[in-house]
Amino acid sequence: MPPLCAIAWLPLDTWIVVVGALGAMACALLGTFLVLRKMSMMGDAISHAVLPGLAIAFLVTGSRDSLVMLAGAGVVGVLTAVFTQWIHAAGKVDQGASMGVVFTILFAVGLILIRQTADHVDLDPECVLYGAIEFVPLDTTAFLGWQVPRAAITVGVVLVLNLLFVTLLYKELKLTSLDPALATTVGINAHLVHYLLMTLVAVTTVAVFESVGSILVIAMFIVPPAAAHLLTDRLSVMLLLSAGLAALSAALGHVAAITLPAWLGLGDISTNTAGMMAVMAGVFFVVAALAGPRHGIVSRAVHRIALSLRIVREDILGLLYRLDELGAPRISRRAFAQAELVGGPFMTRIALWSLRRAGQIVREDATYHLTPRGRSAAQELVRSHRLWESFLEQELRLPPDHVHCTAERLEHVTGARLQERLAESLGDPGHDPHGEPIPDRPSR
């Protein structure tokens, strides 16, 4: 297995990564709004639907000049969006289905048109449709005295265009994507914004897949924005994150494409770069789904565990305090098992360990009892519990034998301020409905 530094990195590879990253960012910027508008599949639909545009552009002009092709594809791309909207609105067909209807039909029409011309020229759909990112550095052109791949310029222009669009119309895009009704009431023309966005999506799709291949377009429209959506709740941050993730997956994707087969022991070969870039974006999505700060699966699990640990700890303190009141301040671990605390014996063990570390309980001769510090924490808790019991009985007129369970839940979420207000409104009672004394606030 060769180490990573053994990759033969050429200027060629740098250009591939640069063009890939530029294209990916251009897609991800617009894709953020597509994902928010639930139109993620638009990139996929357009990249299939532009086929008749290419064929007609060729039939009309007779040339395979890429600008003519771009224009034809761009027009049909916009038409795809328009037709989709029409069928969606006039026929009350749901967005996804109308997209599916439009793009399959357009693709079929394109196939037939292309087949008509195929006798005379080589207009292979695969070849016309999809550029390949591996060949990007071979087709260069002079730009400011440098030899730059032609694709880099095309994709760069599109990226700048999208950046301008997103920054200039940020407010309008935000409002129409998140709350179309509100946008209309404050006087933003939601239709105009929609069609502007769709036009740019079409232009971006066509320009990027003509340079670097369609799979990259489809992936970068959806996957980085979706990953960013899992990481943040702010639109501006989401835009930046999705552009960053897109660029990163382009770079790592290319590295993976030239190293991964060797790592897997398949010999000294490389694989499809665009495909690996899409896979990398998928990897980022999975990471975001697992480790996202608020919506990630791991962080949600950690939160849940931390919460239940806190509750078990507090329950243990409460239990020890009440035993203390009964005159039996010590308890063995076996007795804890009988108390049936939430989370089971494993949680109990961890909670006991962490309480001992915090200096709130001590263990002597295989039994536990409270330290002064633990005692004051427990006092606070039991005070909350019994105040709640009194409150439920006095104010809500619950029978005394029904108040314990509710108070048991509420005691864990009662802060010092709330506790004070409770005591105040009850007139500082000395005893709870069961006749147990309500302890004073511990002196600090």
Binding site: K38, V93, A97, S270, G275
Partner: protein
């Protein structure tokens, strides 16, 4: 009868288009080398006399029907593009299956193995979609897109590796699987037929469960149905039809067959059972017609023709569909507008007659009517004409109009509804009498019998004369009041 007629029109229309295409001597593009067949060839194809045509037409018709059937459920679950995601998600499975088979010393192009690989990665893709939608805050459409692009990317990467491995057999692996309709073999047709029968049977057996799942999954869960399992079964059926179909007819056609016929069927009916049946019928019909046409013109790609025929059916359905079609809804709306205008003119006549003494008893002049509301003379004339045609109003030839007996009944009902609602608003909603006219004007047209009975019950205590209640405001000024509040 009303429902059968459009379907007959549809079939004849399809055949007509078919024959027109068959007839024309020159193609749309002058330099194409396609020769269009005459009637004899058309007849041969339509009566399925060629063995090849028979196989292809019957095979794809089966596939179209099966895809239409399961696609209808997909559409109702708002997963219309699942076929798209799914068919792209099969690629890594195909590549890996090929790789494994080569590593174990085979040629790699053993069809059952490839299909198995495709199915496994298709099912994995579907499970990923369900997992993403269930556990994260990602919507259905984005989940479909993620699975589509990442799986397809992986597939492209895997086939890239396979092609560079140098085993030599990998060339055309993709097109081997994403095949061509016209070259379908008998074995393909049989496989598709069997798959179609299995899927139809499964859908019939699980019809009630699927219906529940489509319309109210939460209710189904609360009734104790294994919703997740049913969902997985439904998805598995989609995977089955997609994998079988992909190999025979290609990727785009497979997506089209899962999306277009169900979307078209939605315009024909609002009942699920009929929609599913229509969808299967449309799928089968567009497939057989399309395949037949491509048999007539061998150089046209069959898949593309089938999609175009299906698209034509979709357009026809979207406009002419009796349940939700554009024309049907336009017609409904027009009828509603007309009946509202008729009720308005009847009420106007009734109230003019009621409010003042007449030169000719019971007859009102055209100008009096125009002055009653904010409407143009043209609108009044149209509404009057409509009422006259319905024998509700009699013109006397001197620009005067009177209600017929039938018309008086209808006008009385309209006036009564209007005033009952006004009284309700005044008594129970504390709205000033000067403000109720406009509101009641909208509501009077949609008050059903039950609602009227309810209003009578509510108002019975406070208002003694409910048979023909007096207007709670001065109606001769109703027009001006309306103007002021507007």
């Amino acid at each position: 009868m009303l429902r059968v007629l459009p379907i007959a029109v549809l079939v004849l229309g399809g055949l007509g288009v078919c024959s027109v295409l068959g007839q024309s001597d020159t193609g749309t593009l002058t330099d194409s080398s396609i020769t269009w067949p005459g009637w004899a060839a058309l007849l041969r194809v339509l009566t399925l006399q060629d063995y090849n045509t028979r196989v292809v037409v019957l095979g794809v018709a089966c596939l179209g029907a099966a895809a239409g059937l399961i696609g209808a459920f997909m559409l109702l679950r708002e997963r219309a593009l699942l076929g798209d995601a799914l068919s792209h998600a099969t690629l890594p499975g195909i590549g890996l299956a090929f790789m494994v088979m080569v590593l174990f010393g085979g040629t790699g192009k053993w069809l059952p193995g490839l299909l198995l690989g495709a199915s496994i990665s298709g099912v994995l893709g579907v499970l990923c979609i369900m997992l993403i939608v269930r556990t994260m805050r990602i919507k259905q459409d984005a989940a479909l897109g993620i699975v589509l692009s990442v799986f397809f990317g992986l597939g492209v990467a895997v086939t890239g590796i396979v092609q560079n491995m140098g085993s030599g057999h990998a060339a055309g692996l993709q097109s081997f699987i994403y095949g061509k309709t016209a070259s379908m073999l008998l074995s393909d047709a049989v496989r598709i037929g069997v798959a179609g029968v299995i899927i139809t049977f499964a859908c019939l057996v699980l019809f009630k469960e699927f219906r529940l799942l489509c319309f109210d999954a939460a209710y189904a869960r609360s009734q104790g149905w294994p919703v997740t399992l049913l969902d997985v079964v439904m998805m598995a059926l989609v995977v089955g039809v997609t994998v079988i179909g992909l190999q025979a007819v290609g990727l785009i056609l497979m997506i089209a067959l899962l999306v277009i016929p169900p979307a078209a069927a939605k315009f024909w009916t609002t009942r699920l059972s009929r929609m599913v049946f229509t969808s299967a019928l449309l799928g089968g019909m567009s497939c057989s017609l399309g395949a037949g046409m491509s048999a007539l013109v061998p150089r046209l790609p069959a898949g593309a023709i089938i999609v175009c025929v299906a698209g034509l059916f979709f357009l026809i359905s979207m406009f002419a569909g009796p349940a939700r079609g554009v024309l049907a809804r336009w017609w409904d709306q027009k009828r509603l507008v007309r009946s509202v205008a008729r009720q308005n003119v009847l009420r106007a006549i009734y109230e003019v007659v009621e409010s003042s003494d007449r030169d000719v008893p019971g007859a009102v002049t055209f100008d009096e009517l125009v002055g009653r509301r904010t409407w143009s003379p043209r609108e009044v004339q149209n509404a009057l004409n409509c009422a006259i045609r319905g024998r509700l109003v009699r013109p006397d030839g001197f620009q005067r109009y009177a209600l017929s007996d039938e018309g008086r009944q209808a006008a009385w009902r309209a006036v009564r509804n209007h005033r009952l609602w006004e009284l309700y608003l005044i008594t129970h909603a504390d709205i000033a009498p000067s403000h109720v006219d406009r509101d009641a004007d909208r509501v009077e047209h949609v008050l059903g019998d039950e609602m009227v009975a309810e209003l009578e019950k509510l108002l019975a205590d406070t208002h003694p004369n409910l048979t023909t209640p007096a207007s709670p405001h001065r109606i001769d000024r109703a027009f001006h009041v309306e103007r002021e509040t507007a």
